[in-house]
Amino acid sequence: MKFAVVVFPGSNCDRDMYHAVKDGLNEEVDMVWYQEADLSQYDAILLPGGFSYGDYLRSGAIASTSDIVAQIKEAAEAGKPILGVCNGFQILLETGLLPGAMLPNRDLKFICHHEELQVENNETMFTSKYQEGEKIQIPIAHGDGNYYCDKSILGELKQNDQIVFTYTNNPNGSTGDIAGIVNEQGNVLGMMPHPERAVESLLGNEDGLRLFQSILTYWRNNHAIHA
């Protein structure tokens, strides 16, 4: 399986994402510059964390107007797994691929620590290796991670089982304790916590690895000949 990590000016978790796939998952992965990427060659697209364009205007807003977004939307429509973490999640919100928006954290601080998440939906291509209701530890590191949506969107998210991860101890004020959501099709996941920073016990935590393993399992099941 071949993964692309899309690098924007200001991305800074691109190497962690690369490492998670290459050394955690042992699959092929390229870091591709946003202006030169041909995403049609890849089976999954990863949008890493960081501060694309210095978070100017709104986090993710400027990146969401770049040409590569058309390719990301194409891949989304084709059903390829797309994972946006942190700034990647913010970009997915700004492109409209996921509903809602990000606000500054409730307490206005940049927060950076391990946070307990609850797996709300383990029937996605990103979470099949987790148990429903399972509590996992994943690092967070963000200033604008306060997910906001109005009541009608929240209702839809709940009704369609689009809420994938929630915080058990909401650190940032997110609506509905939301830490991660998928689109209606289920192939675009945005989450503020960083699973790519939790892929090896040597660094104290491998709760994030199963997310990448879930993507691989999904892909293998759908490409049985290749596997």
Binding site: L57, R58, A61, T65, L93, E94, P99, G100, A101, L103, P104, N105, R106, D107, L108, N146, Y148, C149, D150, G173
Partner: protein, 82 residues
């Protein structure tokens, strides 16, 4: 030439932690009658003359300058004589 003044504000009902912090500071400075502060953005966009200028401004606000999920916008267009 036109100067477009664009005001972007948080929608009603969207919490504004920054505004809340500014309000507390004003209260600390003895402005006890300040009940609420909402922090927004102000932009000045210089544009060449065009008949479609109003439509263009709305389009740029919808597409980029404001996020319709959390923000409202308003604008004024002023003619600038060089």
């Amino acid at each position: 030439m036109h100067k477009v003044k664009i005001y972007i504000t948080l929608k009603e009902g969207v919490l504004d932690p920054q505004g809340k912090a500014v309000q507390h500071s004003l209260n600390t400075l003895d402005f006890g009658n300040v009940n609420e502060v909402r922090v927004g953005k102000y932009m000045e966009v210089m544009m060449e003359d065009s008949e479609k200028i109003e439509k263009q401004v709305e389009e740029m606000c919808d597409k980029l300058l404001a996020n319709p999920v959390i923000e409202d916008y308003s604008y004024q267009i002023e003619e600038v004589i060089a």
